[in-house]
Symmetry: C2
Amino acid sequence: METIVESSGLPADAFSAKCPTRQVLDHIAGKWTVLVVDALLEGTMRYTDLSRRIEGVSQKMLTQTLRSLEADGFVTRTVHPTIPPRVDYDLTSLGRSLAEPITALRRWTENHINEIEQARSRARD
Amino acid sequence: METIVESSGLPADAFSAKCPTRQVLDHIAGKWTVLVVDALLEGTMRYTDLSRRIEGVSQKMLTQTLRSLEADGFVTRTVHPTIPPRVDYDLTSLGRSLAEPITALRRWTENHINEIEQARSRARD
DNA sequence: CAGTATCCGCTAAGATACTG
DNA sequence: CAGTATCTTAGCGGATACTG
């Protein structure tokens, strides 16, 4: 197994407080990130497509999540200078790569939701 | 592909605001959850083992995360009535199952941290 | 259509002190 | 050792109103 060495010269290790992996993991793991990345796996989407696909997301959080995904290189934002404006969002190849473990996590949760809810009701007594 | 139907009679779907998968995904995806579950994959751990393994976690967050993992059926907590007390934490089989996608996510982040940091520095100009 | 801007409550999370 | 209790603060995230 290959060890990844990050720019500081230290090996990437999420258990280490200093490792930048920590921050990235933190916001990759966010609720909205999982859903946005997963949604974009279905193809190019416009802003309103995304807000419809992801029930309950506010404009603010959707915009914030998209900007952050863009800054991390997971998503591209293409503005078409038309009236009314049209903005397309797509996954980059890095984003499609990230989508694999993210989809796995969402699927796992969907597949085990009943076991978890049972454990929860058992914990309540 | 099999469709999971949850207790409400609806199919489990994280994109749906009502689906309990949402809440579970939300806190499964949390930073500390990922690290605790991953750490426990190395075997039984006592409270202090975990706090040492996971750099930077506060007592409060560690306890809170462990209690929540216990309530969801991912972790068992075994108290040995000795002086001084000894408490062992272990993954349940559900927890070990969850560990797979979680480990994949942590590993992915560690493996791609350099690409992400490059994208970030590019985004800054 | 695709956002910004602003206000604000809630709680996530850290720091600190104490205990069976 | 393995926590609990309390205080405090940062910022997540929703609601609402406005704009090129």
